[in-house]
């Protein structure tokens, strides 16, 4: 516990120092974004100062879920058709290792300390638990059909997994690795996101066309975000990725083939604006300073850059084929 606090403080100090240095060097923060390209089997590296592609890394087959390790040293990318998660060294930008996931890993979540990784394996209805330091598989948790969305509560005690054909959000106790509750949501739940104050979990339903707001204590759906875009059929509105600002005031929801990001007022659960981005938008990531939100647009093979404060799309960057997930260096 003490050691953990110390490392946390150390990290905060280091981040503070680094950003201080960056501030001194340039007016804008430069961050590095990594984008998984599902069809090209590559990861595109983007510099957020120049908004240019600086490198394309060859990875395994069908890269989808992608995330930085908590220490910012490595990028993990699930390569589903190779049944593993590859590890990219952020310094050398090359694949250096792989993790023992179950078959067809798609999305994953890590605990706050960055020690345990939970992986949704679409092919065999399980969530695999991996020790990140030992790179060893600790066990499996049986969930519903086609597990996909994964998120962990801010206190690290609850893991949420969504299963696409069972249409549920499974609440898993991370200590006992047992399911404690199952909450039925609309069809094909793809993604789950906690509010930073842990008071709500938002779950997107791609085919149902809604986002369910769940009370994580009562395990009940307490509200729904619905979408309506003039001139677009209901069927084209397919919510997937969700991003929430740190103050929990604004949520951004990717609407797939509707080619739009919905800006949602979290308190009222109402859409305030639709931002037109590239085609079939699925996932997104904020820059750590929350100035920008980057979205992956699968069919137009590009990434849209949204100015968060202005709520405007300011840039489009061409990446590989069928960009899927995105992560930005902490």
């Amino acid at each position: 516990m003490q050691a953990e606090v110390r490392t946390q403080m150390l990290r905060m100090w280091r981040v503070g120092l680094l950003s201080g240095l960056a501030l001194a060097a340039a007016p804008a923060h430069a961050f590095i974004a990594y984008v998984s390209n599902e069809k090209s089997n590559t990861v595109t590296v983007i510099d957020t100062e120049s908004w240019t592609v600086t490198k394309t890394i060859k990875v395994g087959q069908r890269p989808r879920g992608i995330d930085f390790t908590r220490d910012g040293k490595f990028v993990m990318v699930a390569v589903g058709d190779d049944d593993t998660i590859q590890v990219i060294d952020a310094k050398t930008q090359a694949v250096v290792d792989s993790l023992p996931s179950g078959p067809d890993p798609e999305l994953f979540a890590q605990d706050a300390a960055g020690k345990i990784l939970y992986v949704a394996n679409e092919n065999d209805n399980t969530v695999t638990v991996i020790d990140l330091e030992k790179r060893a598989r600790l066990g499996d948790i049986q969930v519903g059909v086609e597990p996909e969305g994964m998120t962990i509560s801010p206190d690290g005690k609850t893991l949420i997994n969504t299963s696409e054909t069972t249409n549920m959000a499974h609440f898993i106790d991370t200590a006992s690795r047992q399911i404690v509750a199952n909450v039925l949501v609309d069809a094909r739940p793809r993604f789950a996101e906690f509010k930073h104050d842990a008071s709500e979990v938002w779950v997107s339903s791609e085919i149902g066309g809604t986002v369910s707001v769940i009370d994580p204590k009562k395990h009940e759906v307490i509200g729904k975000v619905t979408f309506e875009i003039p001139g677009l059929r209901k069927e084209a509105i397919q919510p997937v990725g969700i991003g929430m600002t740190k103050d929990d005031k604004t949520a951004f929801v990717a609407l797939g083939p509707a080619n739009r990001i919905a800006v949602v007022d979290v308190a009222s659960r109402k859409v305030t604006k639709y931002l037109l981005v590239g085609q079939r938008v699925w996932h997104m990531a904020f820059t750590p300073d929350e100035k920008y939100l980057l979205t992956t647009n699968g069919v137009s093979n590009d990434v849209s850059v949204i100015d968060v404060a202005a709520q405007k799309v300011i840039k489009t960057i061409q990446v590989g084929e069928l960009p899927w997930g995105i992560t930005i260096a902490p």
Partner: protein, 393 residues
């Protein structure tokens, strides 16, 4: 007295916990004909369990979900041999199963539907593509997961028109179902502005589908049969009976693509379909059944999944509640086709995208871009509400 009371409470507790532990059993029947039909291509030869294998996978999927809800699904299969009474078999199946998935010819399905009407059994037509089951002969207790001939023909026609292959040479078989498919194709051509430049009939004169040196003969027959046609872009074949369609590709007199019953074929599903998360289901299917998934498997899977979807949403296995929910305005089902599938409330036909496949790949998916509709683009496929002759009863 106190001991007696304690005993009573104890009993009561035991009874409740036993009740909670015992999942609700939901019976699903599968009714089809025994035996399989013969196809020209050996690789297209249906398996003995064509259809029911899809239902079996959906029952597994439903049970994975059901274990979180205290619901258990069981599948009972019944195959009718020649000379057996289909109504009797259906009634026996309905004893334990409130839901029955059928793969029956139209007349047999109508008999079963009428016989089970008062019992409240809900039927799912997974096999028959006949228009009349959704039109003049529609029934309130039958949900159709199989697409219709008009839906299939429109799906193909939209693509051919998009491709600007609008001059069709139509070749029709001599059996009734071939003629029905040809009717659907003519309607499609008229709707979407294609022109049938000539129609030819291919007479079924009998003969074996399997021969030792058939190829030599076919290679001489087919060019001659298609010789002398007016200028056309694509040959469209209506051969549901599997007599000649598959012989046409690469053998036409003029070098033209073939579509319809061979070449580019419209289907509700295909083993090559891997978009929209389908790969996971294809893998589950192969693992369970040791073969690839057909359109009929998918139509039966969808039927059994619709039952599971409704039982989980209503948290009930009661046929009345489940039927009301399926027929209600909030019902939709996800079936790996990129969009939610809903029911046409005027005839209980499932709206669905149709794949266009060539036996190896999914070439396209209809409805095509630009075919617009005020309610759902899926209603550009097949007979729409204003055209329907169905009066549900």
């Amino acid at each position: 007295m106190i001991r007696w009371l304690v005993g009573l409470i104890g009993l009561g507790l035991a009874a409740t916990s036993a009740l909670a532990a015992e999942p609700a059993l939901i019976g699903v029947g599968y009714l089809g004909l025994a035996g399989t039909r013969s196809t020209l291509s050996l690789v297209e030869q249906p398996a003995e369990n064509d259809g029911v294998a899809g239902a079996r996978l959906a029952i597994e999927d439903n049970n994975t979900t059901g274990k979180f809800l205290g619901q258990r699904f069981a599948l009972e299969e019944r195959r009718i041999k020649e000379g057996e009474d289909v109504v009797q078999a259906a009634a026996a199946l309905a004893e334990k199963n409130s839901f029955i998935i059928t793969d029956l010819p139209a007349d047999a399905l109508l008999k079963v539907s009428d016989a089970l009407r008062d019992r409240g059994t809900l039927l799912f037509n997974a096999g028959a593509i006949d228009e009349r089951l959704r039109e003049a002969d529609c029934r309130a207790n039958v949900i159709h997961t199989a697409p219709t001939r008009a839906m299939l023909a429109d799906a193909l026609g939209q693509y051919l028109v998009w491709k600007k292959w609008s001059r069709w040479l139509l070749v029709v078989g001599s059996h009734d179902e071939d003629k029905l498919f040809a009717d659907a194709l003519r309607r499609t051509a008229a709707r979407f502005g294609a022109k049938i430049v000539q129609e030819k009939t291919f007479e079924d004169k009998g003969g074996a589908r399997r021969t030792d040196s058939g190829v030599t003969l076919i290679q001489r027959q087919m060019p001659v049969f298609t010789q002398g046609a007016p200028a056309y872009d694509v040959l469209v074949a209506a051969d549901e009976s599997e007599v000649f369609g598959a012989y046409l590709p690469y053998r036409t007199w003029d070098p033209r693509p073939v579509a319809g019953s061979a070449g580019l074929v419209p289907r509700s599903w295909d083993a090559a379909q891997d978009q929209w998360g389908a790969i996971q289901m294809q893998n589950r299917f192969v693992k369970l059944n040791s073969r690839r998934m057909t359109a009929l498997d998918m139509q039966a899977w969808t039927a059994a999944r619709m039952i599971g979807e409704a039982t989980s949403r209503t948290n009930s296995g009661d046929v009345k509640k489940v039927t009301d929910f399926i027929k209600g305005p909030d019902f939709s089902v996800a079936a790996f086709k990129g969009t939610r599938l809903t029911l046409r409330d005027w005839n209980w036909q499932l709206r669905q995208p149709i794949l266009l496949v060539d036996g190896r790949m999914v070439v396209s998916v209809s409805p095509q871009e630009g075919f617009l509709h005020q309610i759902s683009e899926l209603d550009t496929l097949g007979y729409d509400r204003p055209e329907s002759k169905c009066k549900l009863k």
